[in-house]
Symmetry: C2
Subunit: 196 residues, 2 copies
Amino acid sequence: MENNNKQKILNAAIILFQDKGYYGTGLNEILRKSDCPKGSLYYYFPNGKEQLALESIEMTKNFVDGMIRRNLEKIDDPAESMKTFVREMAENVYVDNDDLSSFQSNRKISINLIALETSKTNDNIRKACEGAYSTFEKAYFDKLVENGFDDDKAKEVSKTIESLIEGAILMSTVKKDDTYILNVADIIYDLIKKSS
Amino acid sequence: MENNNKQKILNAAIILFQDKGYYGTGLNEILRKSDCPKGSLYYYFPNGKEQLALESIEMTKNFVDGMIRRNLEKIDDPAESMKTFVREMAENVYVDNDDLSSFQSNRKISINLIALETSKTNDNIRKACEGAYSTFEKAYFDKLVENGFDDDKAKEVSKTIESLIEGAILMSTVKKDDTYILNVADIIYDLIKKSS
DNA sequence: GTCTATAGTACGATAGAC
DNA sequence: GTCTATCGTACTATAGAC
């Protein structure tokens, strides 16, 4: 497999950047976790650590976007589907899985740490994070428009939903308490019902 | 002044940890910004970088707690006072002030970055951040109880308020867009009105 | 293409002069 | 108490063998 090493490095980087951050994670640590030599890293990522971060964010963005859309289409009513989707997130908050393969199924995925780290120090990475957040908002936006919301209202509500979710992930991560996510699920339900 | 250097180091550390993070900020950078020699740092903070972070968080906690309480007591109605307070936060989101003295007046203050960085790597610092968030929640809790909320409802609502505010700060920081904060001000208003 | 050895720099921390 | 010089380590990145 030609790019097996590339994927192994990416998988390790995604987990480490998420848990320990961009500046808290060393390239040596990524290589140790992925069991690849340093030569592979600079062969597949000639622009080094920054490129590795950019591709990690891109992959995370696509993965989460798919996950959101798959969940939201399970239930027609937008308020119900959002509430159910957010509540299921709470079940995965405590999953502290280091296994490289399982992060695709039930691992909590978040770019909040690397986004904050680079908001004032690396505008390329910051913009990539901004794009990811906008992609998630677009998934909520599409669900709302499909259900009769006009564009302006859907835009406002989807931005608010994204903000509520990321705040709840932040708090539940730091305080190790999933009630923040459960509370926000209800807030989002009410917000959509009230706006429709 | 005996501990003038200590305060200068703390002020520089608070700003740098906030903007560049715990792992993204070097002690040499803190000393350069504070114009102090390395000897001072280890004299006042014998436990090094971790102690510096713990005292930075403690000082931030007390400063923000006072700011919240001073703002909330300006208006009696809890929903109105929270909404006004949060809306005023939006005005300071873009302030990118490096001046060491002015951060006490109008600088945006947040521990979100260091909290996420240490949530899986340093439990001492993580616990200090957890305590700071709980202190802010207590300020919201007290305002609600003063206005007739029972303890259980006030606890739930104050936790949700804290989560909403931190999420909005996160999003507005990364996307450089203060509408997230303005939207959340309205959500909090509705939440308090609906719960009272 | 794949990998190792290493350069060059910045890090956190300390020893010891004054 | 205050400060400087420096230690040992880890970092990102590169050069060059195979």
